[in-house]
Symmetry: D2
Subunit: 384 residues, 4 copies
């Protein structure tokens, strides 16, 4: 069994829940799940045991009810058993067109953390997954500052993801082990403070920012150019979509945060900082969860010849993230078994846009994939 708690019952969380149940029922193949059924821990073993949100339209409802907003097919009945509880807000949904209220508004931050920890104990949670809406976060850098900020209940300094990660560390400590998976750009696995906390308290952290969409593809294309010693002259990458995450990114501060995690790949892969424009570009409601991406790259080939590449795509954002999550929750179990507390670069390097720890760089995804398999004690996919 893999007992999962979802923080944020939005698009990604709902598709994750629906897809897991459909796989259990044999309705669909596990496409989009990199390791499919190669792990000892089967997809069928995943159990969602808790769900949190701060949207007043969701809190108190079941995951079954909430999932109606995100999928037109038949929602599995089993999701009626999971209630969406109130989570931490701290203004993370500020400026978005919805009513949100967090636990901390009812009882203060420290009590909110206690409530979370005790609820997680009750359901015997193993894996805590952060799929809440992209929010602005400022890393702390060291453990002490985090503890102090929580102690002093500095709600203007902390964001929801940071509180959740902190609560996970408290929970792990009491339980001798838990995993926190950060699928959003807020820096957790890249914050040395959280890594120190995690190492000390038996928490595994995977993060940051699930590697979906155009960025891992761009990474592979850049690798393609680098391996042929083609000089990259420029890279432009646009993204536009109609889900809540794109709406959230209209906010300039959240956007900056996202830009950072996307943009670092150019230098990491090429070894030089080719001029680039890589950032989420806009919100266009009718596109929904199926974003449109456009990538332009110009390169110098042999004898000064200039080549040009354009990639366009329509990509379902949430299923891509949810598919990775199906692996990550199971890899969390493996990491706990191995007692690799702190963060696990071998996992992050393939699954995350901004793989922690802070000092780590992006490596070609195709190589990262084999590295990750090795860590998971699987045979290489490609015998070379």
């Amino acid at each position: 069994m893999v007992r999962v708690v979802l923080l944020g019952q939005g698009y990604a969380g709902s598709i994750f829940a629906i897809g897991i149940e459909r796989i259990k029922k044999g309705e669909i193949e596990p496409y989009g799940v990199p390791l499919a059924n190669e792990l000892d821990e089967k997809i069928e073993n995943i159990e969602i045991v808790g769900s949190y949100d701060v949207d007043e339209e969701k809190v108190g409802k079941t995951v079954y009810d909430v999932a109606q907003n995100y999928w037109e097919g038949n929602i599995p009945e089993s999701l009626k058993e999971i209630e969406v509880k109130r989570g931490v807000h701290l203004g993370s949904l500020k400026s978005l067109p919805l009513q949100a209220k967090g636990l901390e508004e009812e009882m203060g931050l420290k009590d909110a953390i206690n409530v979370l920890v005790s609820e997680w104990k009750e359901v015997k949670a193993e894996i805590i997954v952060n799929v809440c809406t992209t929010e602005k976060a400022q890393p702390f850098g060291n453990k002490e500052s985090i503890i102090r900020a929580v102690e002093e209940e500095r709600s203007e300094r902390l964001c929801a993801s940071q509180i959740y990660a902190y609560a996970a560390s408290e929970y792990a400590k009491e339980r001798s082990g838990a995993t926190f998976i950060n699928m959003i750009p807020a820096l957790i696995a890249n914050d040395p403070g959280y890594i120190a906390l995690a190492e000390e308290r038996n928490l595994v952290i995977f993060g940051d920012d699930g590697a979906t969409g155009a960025t891992p593809l761009t990474a592979d294309l850049l690798t393609h150019m680098a391996q042929r010693n083609r000089k990259v002259l420029s890279v432009a990458q646009f993204n536009i979509g109609g889900n809540m995450d794109f709406l959230a990114l209209v906010d300039e501060e959240r956007n900056k945060c996202k830009e950072l995690t996307k943009s670092s790949i150019v230098k990491d892969i090429l070894g030089y900082d080719a001029p680039h424009f890589i950032k989420p570009t806009g919100y266009l409601e009718p596109l929904g969860d199926k974003k449109f991406i456009s990538l332009h790259m110009e390169i110098i080939s042999f004898n000064g010849a200039v080549d040009e590449f354009i990639v366009n795509g329509r990509i379902n954002d949430s299923p891509a993230l949810a598919g990775l999550l199906v692996d990550l929750v199971r890899l969390g179990k493996i990491a706990m078994r191995k007692r690799e507390f702190g963060t696990v670069y071998d996992v992050n390097a393939f699954y995350m846009k901004n793989p922690g720890p802070e000092s780590a760089i992006n490596i070609p995804r195709i190589l990262a994939y084999e590295k990750m398999r090795k860590w998971a004690e699987l045979d290489p996919k490609h015998k070379v």
Copy 2:
């Protein structure tokens, strides 16, 4: 020194010659040359010592003169010293709008081979490079059939590339070592007959069909999908260009030959034969050497979501090939030093569309690259 003979003084051969000389003069960086100056054998050491063609407009002229057709910049003066000699034709340019005549029409096949071998001895050739126009070829399968066909001068059964490869084996035998690099789709490194011949006679063969253009990129994209367990529903790939090679491919038989080498990657990489349409599509004169490619791919992601990718590109065909050649002629020297006669999969897997030997499959290029580096005794590019 790396002493190179070019078979076919067309676009690729001319850009190769120009680029090498410009690098020697410090005019350009070695972009498009995967290993650049990482090898002990420097690019500056490459010397073109012979050139062959069958086009009456070229035979007897210097490489300097011929190169004018393919590049608008200043052609290096040093190319005035290499004369284009008459090579073997055997109808390989049949149906193309030019006057061609082969050595074999003057003296018969066996004598033609003898002439080639003796000319190569004179210039102390080490590396024989086949960059002639795509031609139809039928593999022999075993050594004996090749020897018999040559012996009996069966010119309707043999194509120019096969004669050239045979002559190279004769030459290698007398010289205790030479390298034959087959950059076109004719099956040489994939013909067990030629491999047997090469092993016996101290010939290194690299081949077949230099991995330029859309195919290696498609391979990397397919790998991207495979590693995420995304189910590929369909792949369509078009190519259109205006150089002699595209004109040659208008001929249905040559086209089939090309389609074969391009199309096998789908199954090799994915492990299943996703429906695909991958073949050179047409000739459009104004595009010149800068072909237009278009690739469409549809995939299933998690929970049945369907994603779509489109890649368009403008790619300079000949510089891409020439850049690979700059590595291959030097890797030929290494293979001879190591006495790895026959063919070298570790090299072919990265540089060739249809890597020999026949039994070998396409592996992800990004992995093949590191494998090749290892063979060449270089450090991994990406520390993983």
Copy 3:
């Protein structure tokens, strides 16, 4: 009332039937129908009164049953009332993977024509629509040759479309008026023989080859360039799809036929024959009816600058055709009322890839649209 007979109960015919009924039921808006409800003759007035095919899997079934193959939604019950009758084959589906048998195999050509005419009388057909699979056709050029070929029952010289058009002329003669709409590339409206026949026998012919997909879009793009006096250097256009029509085009002879109608637009619009490669490219089953198109265009702008445009699209082939048909069957009624027998260029110029009569050229679609409106006595759409 507009009483329609469909020749060919394939994808386009089925979507036409389904769409009409759904509009009647108020389920959908008339999107994709250029004139929507601007005409006096409303969409609701269209009645399908007959259907023909030669596929043994279809003959004898109802349109309701056949339509299941082409649409996943709920098929309107009203389509249960229309039976698919046996039509004319003449080898038009030869080489396709299905069992086909034509009326003429049961009774000879002339009797087959008589059967058709008498069945059409019975249902009081007004508009005969040819949406059968693309077939090879050789125009006759004059009326006498057509009559003689039919008289002599020369089945190797005639194709199904030609027999259908002939039968329509016989029917029109006896009934003082009918309309034949040729949505496939076989030359009917471009055959002076058929036009003469139609003028004499009170038949309206609209044709040839419904203007769907990439071609009208290419026409508008070329117009865009022409109006800015940008010199078009090259045009490449690819099409690939997975419906029966693409499968039929794998056959080289049918393909040539299609290429002809697509390719003429370049010279017609630009006034000079810019180098181009425009032809249906391939069959890829999983794409189904939603074809992939790719268009590349290179142009010279002011001061010698070279610009480049690429258009990619996914287009549902049959709905596009069916939408045009909803107008054409109603415009047929208007033409009959006006007694404009023969063919009507003002209609063809907008709706057809190869607008008849033979002497006519392609004009910019955007202008053709307003011209057509004028003919239909509608106000200009855009007041200029």
Copy 4:
């Protein structure tokens, strides 16, 4: 003769100057000039008689010297005769990486206007062309406010384009006729105040914002959809380039101004405001003047089918603008001859992104083109 003064000696102004001279010398064809040599007033008659800028690197140099920055070919010697004079700044280049100083800083606004007018008299200017960098402008709405703002020298309220247009009106008044062509997004032809001023003072105004790049193409594509009654679900359009104009648009306020003129076409053409994201997206230096555009459009076709179109392009920005200008300066002469003072919608509708007057809407370019020809007393291009 057509005597032209350029306000802004940047990319567009320089390419205009170079192209005109090369056409005079017979070096190039007038590609990119919509009316080429159809007008009585030939391209050869155009004479640049004055040039203005505020960049300290340009003022005092010749157009020949300045043009070196924008073109690699041989600059025509005749451009040595035109000196770049100091123009009006008013902070229009604020925040850009260059040193700028305006006439008004030396002498006050009213004196600056007087200097301009007297210099224009000296060179007998007929056509005043505004091709300065995109700047923020706030329209006045009525004549009196403009006059008052100038009278009171309110430099924080006025922008450079507004001062230039005002000076042109002063000049026209004294000379009984002049033309002001506004190629940038600042609202001049769309400011009722300027139109009133122009009517009163014998000034012709063409504007606003030359219709180059993706916007007119988008307009034609939207027309294509509208004429087939396809419902446009969404339109996303990105632009990225590396010239000064894109750098200027990084500034949020200038960007808003541009977005406005681009975005209005959706509703104007379709008749309903389909959800869209159309704005200049970013600056990427290596792209230079050859911008990359990407357009995505999703539509509903017949029977609810959803189609998708993607357009990508590389477009040379300044040549496109310069080509239009070659027509506009000559059409200015025609307008003056016809005494059509104020603005001329028939010209603006084809050549401008935001055609004045304010009340006018965007019409399909392809129709606007024929309308413009009619105004210019030319035969229709396409006989329909």
